[in-house]
């Protein structure tokens, strides 16, 4: 047997379970009035984001998330849609990262980010129950109680408690990211999922600012077992504001990274007709890791960038 055959034989139980999790996920959405869409992985323009670097493909770009296409569908009147999509992000490689990975995204028209959190709680619990685990999961030696509601805490409260500063009133983007991975994530309650709420406005990206508190965006992130699992927003549907944010980001990318990021103008045009809606993006590989008790993404995909 070659090394590759041995490796793939060892991975087979995880990959079979992965197939099952994909089926259960589809069943979850299909039975709740959603329908599955399939949008291009290769596009002329994607959302310009300084810290997410796309692969070039003959002058177009490989998608980093299906978000813009799914919002164009919402603008055309679609309401409950989901997608399992391969996404690509350059230079992202580590125990929890592979440059090609699978995102699950779903959107609901006329809803906000609180409903997306509820969906996420229900989805993860449903998968756990369908796999026969019930409410309690064991991951990397720790038990995790998945029973909703999961604990919710604002980013401001969390940073004040664990990092000793206020990222909302005194924003510091560099310390924000470093402290997130060194001071916040390692000290979350390991036995319960955590939902972080209301990110500083500067990290809003495509989220709308909180009505009544423009210092924060209606953005939520879900962490389970130390894994950043899902990111969701009440979506921004104001074209002028979105375009201004994009242009600012494009300028940063041009100056700091000498990279040309095109403005996604078809998306911006569609945004004028997009209803108020909310969406969530969940890392399928990490969800599968949780249910396979896998420490590394390499244990839940057959071929990583290093074995491709």
């Amino acid at each position: 047997m070659t090394g590759e055959e041995r490796r793939l034989e060892r991975l087979k139980p995880n990959l079979e379970r992965r197939a099952l999790i994909h089926q259960i996920t589809r069943r979850f959405f299909d039975t709740r009035g959603f329908f599955e869409v399939d949008t291009p992985v290769r596009s002329p323009a994607i959302a310009p984001e300084k810290e997410i670097i796309p692969f070039d493909s003959e002058g177009w770009l490989l998608t980093t998330s299906p978000e813009l296409y799914m919002k164009r569908l919402l603008a055309a009147g679609y309401s409950n849609i989901y997608q399992l999509s391969h996404c690509f992000r350059k230079s992202e490689r580590g125990r929890l990262h592979n440059p090609e990975f699978t995102l699950l995204e779903w959107y609901r028209a006329f809803k906000d980010y609180t409903e997306m959190i509820t969906d996420t709680e229900q989805l993860v619990l449903f998968i756990s129950q369908e796999l026969g685990y019930g409410n309690v999961l064991r991951y990397q030696g720790k038990t995790i109680d998945l029973k909703p509601p999961w604990s919710r805490i604002t980013i401001q409260e969390l940073y004040k408690q664990l990092a000793g500063w206020d990222p909302v009133n005194e924003p510091d983007p560099v310390s924000f990211d470093l402290d997130m991975v060194t001071k916040i994530i390692p000290h979350l309650n390991p036995h319960r999922p955590t939902v972080m709420l209301d990110y500083p406005a500067a990290t809003a990206s495509l989220a709308r600012l909180k009505p009544g508190n423009p210092l924060v965006a209606e953005r939520a992130e879900v962490f389970i077992g130390g894994l950043e699992l899902a990111n969701g927003y009440s979506e921004l549907n104001n074209r002028q504001e979105q375009e201004a944010r994009f242009r600012k980001e494009i300028e940063h990318i041009r100056l700091e990274q000498k990279r040309v990021a095109p403005l996604p103008d078809k998306f911006l045009t569609a945004l004028e007709r997009m209803p108020q809606c909310a969406g969530m993006a969940l890392g399928m590989d990490r969800l599968v890791m949780l249910f396979c008790d896998a420490a590394s993404i390499d244990e839940v995909i057959p071929f990583s960038v290093d074995t491709a």
Partner: protein, 188 residues
């Protein structure tokens, strides 16, 4: 070199000292900046340290190569070696060799590590055979330590050897620990 291009095993320079990236941890909040945490091994003295870098930062790549070299002779504070492929000679300062000079015998082959074209370290064979040039005579009054006594080797190094070792004997020494291993029986 961009931090994104470094991998486990990449050699980098920090303040002129070469390090090997022994372990690399990639951390990134989904929408945030990538953070690289490295465990670095100092290639000269073997010590290790941790460093954290952000995406977009630059690293200085270290051009490290290794070649076999033969130790020829000592000249003041320098040791003269010859590259076994090109027969070029090069000098290594005794400060760079540290304790390793204790094991160098003329004619011995070692592996030399070069940073660009500057020799920065040598790797000795794990075991060397060397002649005892001087040893104390064991006395009866020695009790607990009686099984071992001090001896001096042809390289000038001192170590503990069993009492049965005599001047002129060839012994095997472990260069990792500096300990006596066994007596080598030489055919006469």
């Amino acid at each position: 070199m961009q931090v994104e291009d470094a991998r486990k095993g990449t050699k980098i320079l920090l303040e002129g000292i070469p390090y090997n990236i022994e372990d690399a941890e990639f951390m990134k909040p989904g929408k945030g900046r990538a953070i690289y945490r490295y465990r670095l091994r100092n290639l000269v003295d073997g010590s290790s340290l941790e460093r954290t870098y952000h995406s977009g930062e630059k690293l200085q790549a270290a051009s490290i190569s290794t070649h076999e070299g033969q130790f020829l002779y000592r000249e003041g504070h320098h040791y003269v070696f010859m590259h076994t492929d090109t027969f070029e000679q090069y000098l290594i300062d005794e400060k760079i060799l540290g304790e390793k000079h204790n094991y160098l015998k003329e004619g011995m082959t070692v592996v030399t590590m070069f940073l660009e074209d500057r020799p920065i370290d040598i790797t000795l064979p794990i075991f060397i055979e060397t002649v005892v040039t001087k040893s104390d005579i064991a006395t009866r009054t020695d009790t607990v330590t009686a099984q071992m006594k001090r001896a001096t080797l042809e390289t000038g190094m001192e170590l503990d050897v069993p009492v049965f070792i005599k001047e002129g004997d060839t012994i095997k020494v472990d260069t990792r620990t500096g300990n006596y291993v066994e007596r080598v029986v030489t055919r006469k």
